[in-house]
């Protein structure tokens, strides 16, 4: 029995946003009497942590603690329009809309503070922890919460903001394909190491090591979660998953999780990653978006590693043990 090892690499780019644009996301923000800020959206959280990162972006822009942000989503009676959570667009699009709304709300807050503190708006700052002060005069500091209450009960004002972000719709030239198909591009490079059992054709993925360039990580722990989950899904696509095991034949399509194959806890490779941050010009705080791309580079990296290990090139996904065995037998005629 031979166990052959190999490594493979792959480098990819991934575009952020619905490719041809015209996909708005909107946000509304208002302050409560206690100085919390409610961010109203209709974007959905698929588990990637949208509520959390949008809360961080709102807190950052307003200058208040993360805990003061309430994310209210998704309800079409209260949340303004959003195109949806797909195309790695949510953090980029919703984040930009929230920044715009937060800046408007912040300005309304500063207008009230300006009157209350008898200082010019340009001379005011918010410290990121809910304190609003006159620049250079820390003694003239008030809580954002106090200004929010005064706005309502003394000045009769709303502290609110509206934000929208939309990349203008881009046409496609039907002859040349000239178009503007992205907002920004994130990048990944994966190195996979595999071991192949030449008697069974089974592949063990030993490690998936990747570098990702994502513009800006709003929440590194959540980015790490996307990377680990994406690497697993890429491995799963490369070696296991199909709804038509003998495509294009439609037979034997799976009905359940024992027939629809995915790797489990006993197939977990070592996963290691490094994240680069080279901020994009148009993402919120430089964000590019990482949701989708993490599954992409592991697939060709694993397939290339199998070739490196065995000399057998499999160009059909998923790379099943049978395909490898047939490849090996074709190289060395005669029964194994």
């Amino acid at each position: 029995m031979a166990r052959l090892r190999g490594t493979g690499i792959a480098a990819v780019n991934y575009p952020t946003g619905m490719n041809l644009g015209g996909d708005p996301s909107q946000a509304l923000i208002h302050a409560t009497t206690s100085g919390s800020f409610v961010v109203s959206l209709s974007a959905t959280d698929l588990g990637q942590g949208l509520r959390t990162v949008i809360g961080q972006i709102a807190a950052e822009t307003l200058g208040v603690e993360f805990g003061e942000i309430v994310i209210d989503t998704a309800d079409t009676d209260t949340g303004p329009h959003d195109m949806g959570t797909f195309a790695s667009r949510a953090t980029h699009r919703v984040g930009n809309a929230v920044i715009a709304a937060a800046l408007e709300a912040r300005r309304a807050l500063l207008d009230v503070a300006s009157e209350e503190l008898e200082a010019a708006v340009d001379d005011l700052e918010i410290d990121g922890h809910g304190n609003l002060m006159v620049k250079g005069a820390p003694s003239r500091s008030v809580r954002v919460a106090d200004i929010a209450a005064l706005a309502q009960f003394k000045y009769g004002r709303t502290i609110s903001g509206r934000g929208s972000y939309m990349k203008a719709k881009s046409p496609v030239d039907p002859e040349t394909g000239a178009m503007d198909p992205d907002s920004t591009e994130a990048h990944a490079c994966t190195v996979a190491e595999v071991e192949v059992d030449t008697e069974t054709g089974e592949v063990t993925v030993l490690s998936i090591k990747s570098a990702y360039e994502v513009g800006r990580q709003v929440n590194p722990a959540l980015v790490a979660g996307q990377i680990a989950g994406g690497a697993w899904m890429g491995m799963s696509h490369a070696l296991y998953e199909t709804t038509a095991p003998y495509y294009p034949a439609p037979d034997h399509s799976p009905r359940d999780f024992s027939e629809y194959l995915m790797p489990g806890t006993l197939e977990m490779p070592e996963i290691e990653s490094v994240v680069l941050e080279m901020p994009s010009s148009n993402g919120p705080y430089g964000v590019k978006g990482i949701g989708e791309m993490t599954a992409n580079s592991p697939i060709p990296a694993i397939v290339n590693a199998i070739y490196h290990a065995t000399g057998v090139r499999i160009d059909d996904l998923p790379v099943t043990p049978e395909k490898i065995l047939r490849g090996l037998e074709a190289r060395q005629p005669g029964p194994a």
Partner: protein
């Protein structure tokens, strides 16, 4: 048909009486791991179901050289017994923890391929099954009870109540190849047991799963081993014979082509484990 009657007998006589009363349309269910998914999805629409979970058929008792396994003993209970190591190995390689807590040894005999991993071991162990009806009991070898795809010798008025397994000391080998390392349908399952005499193989059992309409014995492979010293040549001959005589099928897990090759490989690997002096290293 929406289930209109769910019977939960508390004893074997009660169960047999209910079966006799309701007749062949009564769906008999033990652990529910096969029947319930079909009922939940509306694929199976029985009007009346009898559950055996409370019928008192779940004991595992050793009497002398025989292990008596109640038909509704769970796969987890098999893991907990130590009289027959191969059955532990088979249970360990079947499904997941929660399914093993529910799925039964008897139910495993009725599980269509590629399921039935425990039945493969039972076949290699010369297990017998006890069938009961209101008119009495009978015992027959498991090899012979299974007659085809989802078909067997059980009469319409009978229940499988017990599986008897001879307790023996000779080493056995049990190997399962799936597409995953656990909780996975079989590409092939191999259970092998050899009896030795005077340094020669005196008798052989090789049972195969997922390469036939039900768990099957590789009789030609068994014949080729008898009288040999289990040298490389004998192992190769037996492996080739098993690959030749099995009846592999194609499903979403593997093709017949791949299954046949894996029969050859895994019969060989199992027999190598049984070579005197082998360390028993396997999958």
């Amino acid at each position: 048909m929406t289930v209109r009657t769910y019977l939960l007998p508390r004893s074997l006589p009660e169960a047999l009486g209910l079966l006799a009363h309701h007749g062949p349309d009564l769906l008999v269910m033990a652990g529910g791991t096969v029947a319930m998914p079909l009922i939940n999805e509306g694929i199976s629409l029985p009007e009346a179901v009898m559950g055996l979970r409370l019928a008192g058929l779940d004991r595992i008792v050793r009497t002398g050289d025989v292990l008596h396994i109640g038909a509704t003993a769970t796969l987890t209970q098999l893991l907990d017994q130590d009289a027959v190591p191969m059955l532990r190995e088979a249970a360990r390689n079947t499904a997941s923890w929660a399914i093993r807590n529910m799925g039964t040894v008897g139910g495993n005999l009725f599980t269509p391929p590629p399921g039935g991993d425990v039945a493969v071991a039972l076949l290699a162990l010369d297990a017998r099954v006890t069938l009961a009806s209101t008119s009495g009991q009978r015992s027959l070898p498991l090899d012979g009870f299974l007659t085809g795809f989802m078909s067997n010798e059980l009469a319409a008025d009978e229940l499988l109540v017990e599986i008897e397994v001879p307790v023996r000391s000779e080493p056995t080998a049990y190997l399962k190849l799936g597409r995953r390392h656990a909780n996975t349908p079989a590409v092939v399952t191999v259970a092998a047991r050899l009896e030795w005499g005077d340094g020669r193989v005196a008798d052989a059992r090789i049972a195969l799963g997922a390469v036939g309409p039900h768990p099957i014995r590789a009789r030609e492979a068994e014949r080729r081993l008898v009288g040999t010293g289990l040298d490389a040549e004998a192992i190769a001959a037996a492996s080739d014979a098993a690959a030749e005589e099995c009846e592999p099928f194609t499903d979403g897990i593997a093709t017949d082509w791949y299954r046949r090759r894996m029969v050859r490989l895994f019969v060989g690997r199992a027999l190598e484990q049984l070579t005197p002096g082998a360390t028993g290293e396997g999958r």
